[in-house]
Symmetry: D2
Subunit: 162 residues, 4 copies
């Protein structure tokens, strides 16, 4: 099996409800990801960087992500990312010509609210990456898996489609 | 994306609690599978056959499964199967020389009790199958994914390992 | 058993996540309440009014609540209310001299995120009201149950205490 | 508020799934009860005795329960009990002329499978007991709360009714 680096950049996947002020906050400790991965994935490492909603991610953040990936010895990488700018980051990474296999995933609903969607997306990405032979930048969301140029968020339907 | 046939043969994945007699029964209507697949998979069809605990599956049942697969026009197949004899069925299918890509999966705990494990296993299988180029018989369980000869149920730990 | 009127005024209890804009909104259709009550309560009616976060509830809203209660033929009433101004509404109702038995309850975390807390609070209120002989205004939250003057929200701890 | 003794005798409420042998077993450590009570009840103590399915409870067990209650300094007691013989135990305790307020409760579905039903039943019992002025033996199940002689398990419907 492939050794996989999971880079957690934040996004809806990681949001938890804070009863003290009644809002959803990004949990930067990555508890949701640890929860799924420790039980249902193998041969992985987790790194937490950025920790932002994807609407707040800047090109400075994307440079940090690119540097993290290129300095890593891993060839197979999953990125947990907010859904709104997932395709922007995918394109940024594609321009980086990384010669690695990278799958971006995330969730439309926080793991803390619907653990099944977040787990389904992450595990689809994980399964895909384990069989993947080609380098490239891919997206796995809501059962859609393929090159990042082919899959888009449909803001009306609230899910990713071709 | 691949068009996938999901053949549901029963097993723990499908068990639900019956409060009238206090036992866990296999739901032959495949509600658990429909629940995950309708929301988190694409391009699939579901067939329900056999509907048994894997300890009760006979070679007669396996012949029915083999016939279902070979008569299908699908090249990519996921089989939901009980965990105890998953490797027996995998070997039986391997002897059938099917020239298709087949991933067996299931759950150690019913979807009705832990929806995350069942979803994680199914979606790992689904992701894997979508990137897979080779024919063969594979198992995807608890983060372990690979040829059926490589992955075994560890009855002491209660999960699948290399 | 007492015939109980449940008046749903909104609050955290009823919030659901909207994946289209990533926020928690009050579900004015009262699905959470119907979900618990239809399965686990008896002899009740539900009325939905106001439909607000408790910080947004005005004395005009409280007058609507008071009128709803006093026009009702029910002697036993549960009010689902946001937690931040639950005591303000309780005091307002106490001034109304209603000669009814009224228990206010709600949730620190939405039912859609933690179904157990919301159910525990509602069912504690329901059980209390069924044994109650005295008229008055009561609060039932997080295991604390008693006259509204005795129970306060502790904003630091995020729960209700004496 | 009343100081409440919760006596956990086992039953469906406490069953958890054992993936090693695929069966539901009574968890004698009372994790389900601790889970609800530590978060959503106040002023309680928990004692675990008997630890059986209610069909296996003998009069010897009931004598142990009666002795535990009569030796306790608590006036207000909740008993977690299997549903099939809840009324037999209630009648046995009624014959004991205890001069205490006792509510029996439990669950049709294990807390580990449906945390809402078990929480709803326990919290209804808890709320009821906190307002109760009279001594006696009561049952609180599925929204039905009252003297034990009035409430029965309906084996066809799978819930308690008048």
């Amino acid at each position: 099996m492939h050794k996989i680096l999971i880079i957690n950049t934040g996004g809806t996947f990681n949001k938890t409800y804070d009863p003290l002020n009644g809002t959803l906050l990004i949990d930067k400790t990555s508890k949701a990801l640890e929860d799924i991965a420790s039980k249902w994935l193998c041969e992985f490492e987790i790194i937490n960087i950025i920790g932002k909603d994807s609407l707040d991610i800047t090109n400075h953040d994307r440079l940090e992500l690119l540097a993290t990936i290129s300095h890593s010895t891993h060839q197979h990488i999953i990125i947990i990312h907010g859904t709104d700018t997932m395709h922007v980051t995918a394109e940024y990474l594609a321009d980086g010509e990384l010669e690695k296999s990278i799958v971006l995933t995330g969730a439309m609903v926080p793991y803390s609210i619907d653990p099944v969607e977040a787990s389904a997306n992450l595990c689809s990405a994980y399964g895909y990456l384990n069989a993947l032979k080609e380098e490239g930048i891919y997206i796995a969301m809501n059962g859609m898996i393929g090159e990042y140029t082919e899959i888009k968020k449909d803001r009306i339907k609230g899910r990713f489609t071709l």
